[in-house]
Symmetry: C2
Subunit: 261 residues, 2 copies
Amino acid sequence: MLREIEPLSRQINTHGINTHGNTHGHAPVLPNLPCHTCHFRSANFCGALFGRGGPATAIAGKHREIAARQNIYRAGEASDGVLMICEGWAVRFVQLPNGKRQILSVLMPGDLAGPTSLVEDQLIFSIQAVTEVRYCYFPFAEIRARLHDNPALFNFWLRLTAAEQREADRRLVDLGQRTAQERIAALLTYVMRRCEQRGELLDGEFPFPLSQQQIADFTGLTPVHTCRVLSSLRKKGVCEVGHGCVKVNEPAELQRLGTLK
Amino acid sequence: MLREIEPLSRQINTHGINTHGNTHGHAPVLPNLPCHTCHFRSANFCGALFGRGGPATAIAGKHREIAARQNIYRAGEASDGVLMICEGWAVRFVQLPNGKRQILSVLMPGDLAGPTSLVEDQLIFSIQAVTEVRYCYFPFAEIRARLHDNPALFNFWLRLTAAEQREADRRLVDLGQRTAQERIAALLTYVMRRCEQRGELLDGEFPFPLSQQQIADFTGLTPVHTCRVLSSLRKKGVCEVGHGCVKVNEPAELQRLGTLK
DNA sequence: CTCCGGCATTGATTCGGATCAAACCCGCGG
DNA sequence: CCGCGGGTTTGATCCGAATCAATGCCGGAG
């Protein structure tokens, strides 16, 4: 059987959740969750930003929370800051006029959403919470100012943009050259790796809150065909996907399917 | 009739051209083409890098030249610098083990190749000259050092990475959601726009040295199907592609085909 | 408990693009 | 002048994924 992913709500905040698609500009700030209790206080971006034990309040990253399925950011809105996912999953996507959508990337805790948007601009993508999401918001001006006199942050930023570019390149190859099965296997492998790093991979099992529709939007397929591929993977005994998580029985085989060619 | 694209060779250098697939590390440096004669001396990257009329030699960007079809950079090679295309066209692509390739982006004069690789790394893509190419090479260390005390360069860099990201996102949508005709129309429109900016769009006609095979590799299609789509566009009277250039009869229609949905 | 609505599943059919194959065109070397 | 070879064109066929459609499966509201 598949382990359930526990909804990370509850103990934090069940009231006051934004339920009508607001942007981060309107999502409620959580007053009782300052940076010093945040999981990412000393990791990745925040670690570089704050330095070793420096005062977290210097650059007021504000924690906010938003319910699943709500938009965190909508394409075209004014954007004067960067946000980091602290808890939960989100997707960065482009909404097409004909109703289709392309998911550009999956955002997991620690990820910055649209980091290259350090330049104020009309962004073409939107961001939507997949699960309930707690995130943190940093104004451009603060970051840019600090990039100059904070070498750690500067290095982090260069590495980050490089990594984003490389990931985008990889996805381009996926969508341009690979079959449905390969794309889906690649996605599962990618998420598995990331969960492994976060210590969330237990016995081949890891949380996976994306719906089949969302997998389809990510891989450029239809939900129907996505379902068939997942069924096929299940029949082959490679893995099972559902109920908010994935159980991988044959990691090597999954890896092979996603890397091949 | 279609206007021929004049080979930009000749008056510069017909001897000494690298004809055996070397990397920039081995391509001959052109001693007689210092920065002060370069077309891009005061534009884009170089403009920001050198400042207003500052000494071009401070950061010795070295001009090199390479013949069409040769590799400028090969995936996996050590990379300790950034290169800028000064003259000619190149493509940035991923070579797959099964012989297929995915072209990630088309590089035209003024473009930086793999700019996000300011971090030394194993790059997953290669770069190949489409026409004869003259390019310029800048070591990472120099650029990084100058990013700190050169606000113009710093801003340029932020804008550049943002623009790259946005372009990658757009391509992801193309490959994930659009039909063959739409992808090809989008490519032609993109190149037309860029040529227009460079003043190379005359009477709907602009240089286009990509082969059908290369268009196919860019769009994730087969050369055969690419040919069919081009034929269809020709029959519709929208545009003609061939002999190194494109003649667009109905820009609005081409635009529509590439943007639609 | 039952009804209802959204997601997942499965089958039948269609269609866009790949693949296979043959001819064609044209520049080039001999 | 001829023959060669790489890229282009066109036709016939195949296949992967989309589309259309029906059924099943919960989970939540009443």
